[in-house]
């Protein structure tokens, strides 16, 4: 690579890291080598020190910057992921632009992974040579500043979304809470009791729903979906379709006469999990927020046949509006929280468990509705005939979870859910209950105690994954029952357990459309379909896209307390952002040089963040720096070489390759190439 005209003054600092580096690499030799051989590159000083990251080490660099007038700094120490910020700040403190400092790793990638001291020392020289060659082409950069809009978009009105919305609204910032269903509440609204304390789910959830519905800072958009998202952290613009409820909300009192009078019954496979009916005009459940019903146009007689209008006839406030159109809203927000929750694993997929074929096999959600006193059976646990109480009930754990044929992951809530079911069955019917489990996982507060309580209650626990549930009876005692076939793995016995009712504790799955959601918001989702967090341990709330956060089961299976905690945490992160009023972004960005751009449009769809805009009038493309995440794919893809990427420019990388191959070193000194 051609050298630049003006020579830079470069300082090289080699860290011992105690013996972490110096134990394998001859640090003194490396330092001297750099001073001698990288002179032509502009190295004017090369030092080694015990701990470069210590305040003394940093002062050493700062002193040289001031006294020797260094224009570039290369530190050879640990991974940039650990101390890049440290050394950049040190340079900044001495008046050197922080981006003119390069940290190269001779610890994680050299001394810690090699044993041959000579080879490791030579490799360290090459790494430093690469860093020096690269740093010559560094540019002084300034972080980008973007203002933050104070409003927040929360997608999903389950417990996680409600919690997040309330926290932010209570802090005084506006929130748009978007929910696909006619009411907020999510899955939690379907439950009867919640483990391990067995509080009534409605009793603890309803007040929060009402708060969210009445909050002056929360704009509730139910029966609505986000269709498009543009913009970037600080100023997103979301396009929301508010589906027609077919009534004027302003006039509706939620009196309920319309759904009483509606002649059309529909099987409710959302809220009632197919266990009960609703009308064509309906609220999903009595405590729904908002209280207004919707007309389900697919099933409404009027929309099918053109006549009926019973609801309109009886409505006391005359609010029914059959001609109502969907509304398209655009809202501007600074941050987004995604809390769209989960879908239940389709138990029909495991044919040997007989769901859908054998009537008395139930899913967990069906059982939730059945045991709910507001549910289709009035809270009675009965067989599919609607009246017979079971005498023996089998609860199958891990249905669709921990199984490579379906989902490999543990759904994490099923053990506790199954224990809860076992308790409820016993309490309501006195039946014998068998739990078939692979492992009992009760890792949170109060959970193990709940398990002990169940053991004391006399529930049977059989360790073995159920092989099949069938109606193939063999013995008189099995007559008319379902036979659960399983190995009791603790004794090695083959068991055939006859039961009246089997409950499949089905796992949680990502929403069927989670991949579309991820695409819509420009974030990543795993192969399973769970959205990917920025860091699995240290940042489970944020995503790789600035300004977009995730909470609750959209990130992975979790229980109510964890969902609430994540909702609140996401809110805290958003509020922190809003308070900053503006944010600084890393200046690693792509830029298109307009005079070189031919408008060929190769780059246009290389950007998953839609940061590249094509101007039809001028026939050139342009990068929006606030949307650009700095991956550099367009830089590599531009056939005209018209795109440059700051921080990782072609010159920097090509020059670093030269350095790594020691092509910048006088020939006789080139080592072990």
């Amino acid at each position: 690579m051609d050298k630049k005209d003006e020579k830079e003054k470069i300082g090289v600092y080699v860290c011992h890291c105690g013996t972490n580096i110096a134990g394998v690499i001859n640090v003194e030799e490396v330092s001297t080598w750099a001073a001698e051989n990288l002179k032509d590159q502009g190295v004017v000083i090369s030092r080694e020190y015990k701990f470069m990251c210590s305040s003394l080490g940093q002062e050493l660099i700062q002193k040289d910057i001031k006294e020797l007038g260094l224009t570039r700094v290369v530190v050879a120490a640990c991974s940039p992921h650990l101390h890049e910020k440290t050394f950049r700040n040190a340079c900044k403190g001495a008046g050197l632009n922080p981006y003119l400092c390069e940290l190269v790793s001779i610890r994680e990638q050299d001394s810690w992974v090699h044993t041959d001291k000579v080879a490791a020392t030579e490799k360290a020289k090459a790494i430093i040579s690469g860093g020096v060659s690269r740093v010559v082409y560094h540019e002084a950069l300034e972080p980008l500043h973007v203002p933050i809009h104070p409003a927040t978009l929360v997608v999903g009105g389950g417990i996680a979304g409600i919690q997040a919305a309330l926290e932010i609204a209570d802090a005084g910032f506006p929130v748009y809470l978007v929910e696909r269903e006619p009411s907020i509440g999510g899955h939690m609204a379907q439950f009867d009791k919640t483990f391990p304390t067995l509080d009534c789910s409605a009793c603890i959830l309803t007040p929060k729903m009402v708060d969210a519905g009445n909050h002056p800072n929360i704009t509730l958009l139910t029966y609505s979906e986000v269709e498009k998202v543009d913009g970037y952290v600080g100023s997103f613009v979301a396009t929301i379709r508010k589906r027609a409820r077919s009534l004027r909300e302003a006039d509706c009192t939620g009196c309920g006469i319309c759904w009483e009078k509606c002649p059309k019954k529909v099987v409710d496979d959302v809220f009632e999990a197919g266990m009960g009916n609703r009308k064509a005009i309906y609220v999903p459940f009595p405590q729904a927020v908002p209280k207004y019903p919707v007309i389900d146009r697919v099933n409404c007689t009027y929309y099918i046949k053109g006549t009926c209008k019973a609801c309109e006839k009886f409505c006391p406030t005359n609010c029914i509006d059959f001609a109502q159109q969907d509304e398209i809203l655009t809202v501007e927000v600074g941050n987004v929280i995604l809390a769209t929750g989960w879908d239940l694993f389709d138990t029909r997929r495991i044919t040997q468990y007989g769901y859908g074929r054998l009537p008395n096999v139930f899913t967990s959600l069906e059982f939730e509705r059945m045991s709910n006193s507001a549910g289709p059976t009035g809270g009675n646990v009965v067989l599919r005939d609607g009246k017979t109480e079971p005498k023996v009930v089998g609860i199958v754990h891990c249905v669709g979870s921990r199984d490579k044929n379906y989902n490999e992951y543990c759904s994490s809530i099923c053990c506790m859910q199954s224990l809860k079911f076992a308790h409820l069955v016993k309490e309501k019917t006195g039946a014998e209950v068998y739990n078939f489990y692979i492992d009992i996982r009760t890792p949170a507060k109060g959970y193990e105690e709940f398990y002990h309580r169940l053991l004391e209650e006399g529930t049977h626990f059989i360790r073995g994954k159920v092989a099949e549930i069938s109606d193939a009876t063999r013995l008189p005692s099995e007559e008319g029952k379902l036979v659960i076939q399983v190995e009791d793995t603790l004794t090695g016995n083959q068991l055939r357990v006859p039961v009246d009712m089997a409950i499949l504790s089905a796992g949680l799955e990502p929403r069927h459309d989670s991949k579309a959601l991820a695409k819509l918001f420009g974030i990543s989702c795993s192969a399973d379909g769970w959205l990917i967090e920025r860091h699995p341990k240290l940042d489970p709330i944020a995503t790789m896209t600035d300004g977009i956060y995730i909470a609750g089961c959209v990130q992975g299976p979790k229980d109510i307390p964890a969902s609430v905690a994540q909702g609140a945490a996401a809110a805290a992160r958003v509020m922190g952002k809003i308070q900053q009023k503006e944010i600084a972004l890393e200046p690693v960005r792509a830029t298109i040089h307009e005079e070189q751009c031919s408008g060929c449009r190769i780059c246009n769809n290389l950007c998953p963040f839609n940061a590249i805009l094509f101007h039809e009038d001028r026939m050139v493309s342009e990068v929006n720096p606030a949307l650009c995440q700095g991956c550099g794919t367009c830089v590599a893809g531009c056939p005209a070489g018209a795109i440059t990427g700051t921080g990782f420019s072609n010159e920097q990388i090509l020059s670093q390759i030269n350095g790594l191959l020691l092509l910048n070193v006088p020939k006789k000194q080139a080592v072990a190439a």
Partner: protein, 187 residues
């Protein structure tokens, strides 16, 4: 560079289509045993066999009748949540046991298998009457009588061959087998 190879590795090496050591991923859930139609007759259930292999209990495994009872129905295999091919494992154990010439006494499986293999090597096709001699003498009297009765009836209905079938290019066929195993080993 490991000098010693564990029993689990030995068995894994015999699993032709698998990669790595699939048995290590067993979570001992018991689906295989619960599914197995013959598990009730086995002294160790398939799940227990996997546990024993993972523990390195070679003797106990070889003393077990489990794999000789496997009917190759593959029901466990299609249901295993860890996608372990348990049926192939049973095959592997049979092979291992025959190679080591170690199996539980009183089993018909091993002798029957060897007789079958020899028969094919000789003629290229299966011939039931010869085969019968490999096992019928180990039956108890009642079973023996039943088997002979059944065979007689089959013969009367024209369903038993009287002469062994042979393929045409038998010489080529034998040389072909010779390239896999030296003939002396089996003849």
């Amino acid at each position: 560079m490991t000098d010693t190879i564990t029993f689990g590795q030995e068995i894994s090496n015999l699993l032709h289509a698998a990669e790595g050591e699939p048995l290590k991923t067993c979570i001992q859930c018991g689906t295989c045993s619960g599914t197995c139609p013959v598990a009730g007759y086995m002294d160790n259930s398939p799940r227990q066999i996997i546990a024993l292999i993972n523990l390195g209990k070679k003797e106990q495994v070889l003393e077990s009748n489990t794999f000789w009872y496997c009917a190759s129905c593959y029901h466990c295999t299609v249901r295993c949540p860890q996608e372990i091919n348990i049926t192939e494992l049973m095959y592997a154990l049979k092979r291992y046991s025959i190679w080591k010439n170690r199996y539980k006494e009183g089993l018909i499986g091993p002798t029957f298998s060897e007789a079958f293999v020899k028969m094919i090597v000789r003629g290229g096709r299966s011939f039931e009457p010869v085969l019968a001699t490999s096992y019928i003498f180990s039956f108890n009297t009642r079973e023996f009588v039943q088997e002979i009765q059944g065979a007689t009836e089959l013969l009367l209905k024209g369903r038993l061959p009287l002469l062994p079938a042979r393929i045409k290019r038998l010489e080529n066929f034998r040389r072909m087998i010779g390239r896999i195993i030296p003939m002396g080993g089996l003849e």
